[in-house]
Symmetry: C2
Subunit: 407 residues, 2 copies
């Protein structure tokens, strides 16, 4: 991609923001704030979001779930069925249109249960595993952490419907393993932590937490097993574990809730077993905050010069600068893209210094600078953004060196 044909706008002095992630993502031209907790995803940010979504999609498909997309607008009557409409805490986060008697869905347990009810009659139709990427709306009072707590935000939510507890418990563990793989693929070291299961169950729920000093949650973690407890269930910590746990701040990037038969009963969703007897499916809900992940990555992968996202989620692999007057920039760009790399060629009419600053700020994993000086020796300068390592390499060695640097 040539920068001159790409809509991106970095800022030298960005306005103060409510968080590190919002400040950096705004300054680097990834996002633009519309209101507290409401952001436009600019082309750089959208590329990262799309990569995050694709990683999640691949792992959700790999565990056999089907992707669909429910509507944001949902009828009030849908939320009345399981009693949530009567809950003032739930109702106060709804963007609600009185004329239409519809509100924007902050979560989709009810619509998904209603939908699955149409399709399920027999045990042969179970399990049902469905997920979606969706823009959710929550009228948050505390929308003050950039992309970590939005009023409009992207989420992956999966819902599962099982014929019995064993099937539910099996899938619960399969999905937990997939979650850890997802976070690992994007460079996040997530801890699986026990939290309250909420009002529907006496089981725990599971949270997936990334340790971060700016996180909203406080958790107790065991670094050896990468597990822990949310402080709300502290009194639940086994005696043998006590003293071995460290109290840390963290960001919740995913969660899994056992829903038991709360919603299947509310919607009278039943199935016939092998003997012709009726049962309510056991349900689970499995969330990952997509835009929150971009915020988390920005909180963790940065330095004084800007962002330094891992390759799996960076908008481009390579930031290419050509300081000579020739055509080498375009030739290298084409050659590298042909080799499968995503390249941002900074062909703007700007000075060398400004381009170097933007390269660090946007933070692609590799910066390449071809200059009159390196050209003399048939070389190019390669900088690894994550480590700061700078070296000159022969142009002929560029592809093999990139192959090693960009694993």
């Amino acid at each position: 991609m040539r920068f001159s044909h790409f809509f991106a706008h970095t800022k030298r002095s960005a306005a103060a923001q409510d968080s590190v992630n919002a400040y950096l993502l705004d300054k680097a031209g990834y996002v633009s704030q519309v209101a507290a907790g409401v952001y436009a995803m600019l082309p750089l940010g959208l590329r990262s979001i799309q990569k995050i979504e694709q990683i999640v999609r691949e792992e959700m498909n790999a565990i056999g779930a089907s992707e669909l997309s429910l509507s944001a607008l949902q009828l009030k009557s849908t939320w009345e069925k399981a009693g949530r409409w009567a809950d003032p805490n739930f109702r106060e986060i709804l963007y609600y249109d009185q004329d239409a008697d519809m509100a924007l869905a902050p979560t989709h347990e009810e619509p998904m249960t209603g939908l699955v009810k149409e399709a399920v009659q027999s045990y042969r139709d179970l399990p049902v595993l469905t997920y979606q990427f969706q823009t959710k709306f929550r009228k948050e009072l505390r929308a003050k952490s950039g992309l970590l707590r939005g009023r409009e935000f992207r989420m992956k939510d999966l819902y599962s419907f099982h014929p019995d507890e064993a099937s539910h418990n099996d899938f619960y563990e399969v999905c937990a393993a997939a979650y850890l793989k997802i976070f690992e693929r994007m460079g996040l070291d997530a801890y699986r932590t026990k939290a309250s299961g909420g009002i529907f169950t006496d089981k725990f729920s599971d949270e997936f937490q990334v340790i971060c000093p700016t996180g909203e949650d406080e958790i107790l973690v065991d670094h050896k097993t990468k597990t822990g407890f949310n402080q709300e269930v502290e009194d639940q910590v086994p005696a043998a574990k006590k003293g071995k746990l460290e109290r840390v701040k963290a960001i919740e990037v995913g969660n899994i809730f056992p829903l038991e038969t709360k919603y299947s009963k509310a919607f009278d969703l039943q199935f016939l077993d092998e003997k012709g007897e009726r049962h309510y499916p056991i349900m689970g809900a499995y969330g990952i905050g997509i835009s929150r992940l971009l915020g988390t990555l920005a909180e963790i992968y940065n330095d004084d010069s800007g962002l330094k996202l891992p390759r799996a989620v960076a908008p481009f692999d390579i930031y290419l600068i050509d300081l000579t007057e020739g055509k080498m920039g375009v030739e290298l760009h084409d050659k590298l893209e042909k080799a499968g790399y995503e390249v941002l060629l900074d062909d703007r009419a700007k000075g060398a210094g400004e381009k170097m600053i933007d390269a660090d700020l946007i933070g692609c994993p590799i910066r390449l600078v071809y200059s009159p000086k390196t050209a003399e020796n048939g070389e190019i300068e390669l900088k690894v953004r994550a480590t700061g390592e700078v070296k000159r390499i022969k142009l002929d060695d560029l592809l093999p060196v990139l192959g090693k640097s960009l694993l």
Copy 2:
């Protein structure tokens, strides 16, 4: 994909719907209605929507536009700038939350202009070409045509900002050509028709119309040049054209509006030219209804047995049925997927008749049936959904025959 692992539910007798497209898409398990003009996209429908979006994305990228994603929630103050808030026709289609003083965007001229203002100072920063795929919200009173007129719907909207009329006019034609290519790629024969430019300009706007007896629009078309006029600008038809035009019903699948400097002036978006003089960029807006396209395709590509979408937009290429007790179904499925085809293997515990009916209803371009009878001769039955042609072919010839049948 194995059907037993895929969430899809066809109906033998679907409820009456407000349109042919909603009836068929509901019956075939592509969509599920939530309320008038509000639909969930089920896995089959979402696959088609994703293919439609990818075609549009490729052609928008090919003409140099940058993809981003604005927010749905927008501040009331944003719509006040160009005066649309004062227009009762505009305001009545808004889902508006009084507490938050925010409404769901039915269109994005204002937020996009505000965003571009932050990034543009000089003629060197122009043109700006940005687009997004977005869920739009419009409180439609006439939401009664299935996916053709939604209250919540997917749209691709592109906005362009130019230093002068010539640059604007050039891009206008480039985008019009890309639109015709997009519709052709998905099997739609679109007519470029002149319509009113609205209140901002004395120019025409362009609509892209697909002839269809159930369409809401009435247009006058010249079949030879694939152009025409919306009846609202009838008096504008050149004398030489009169008498040569046919009056037909049609569905509008895309449009292009010249916006002149209406919004750049309202937002005081200015740039400096080569001489240091200030100007307002000339703008254009370019829309394509994504979910409406799926509705249009369903209106056009169907018969008494169900849907028959073109390969470019069908959820799967091949519907595979194995009526023998063996493993041939799974083997063929794996072999065909390896060869690059998208295959839905109907491995459900259902009778042959039911599977045949679902194959026609869902309407993948090719149906393959391997049965004890065809197995005797090492053959398989191939049906082309579009033409109804059925033939038996040697299993060894399957890949070459598919290569020809699924161009």
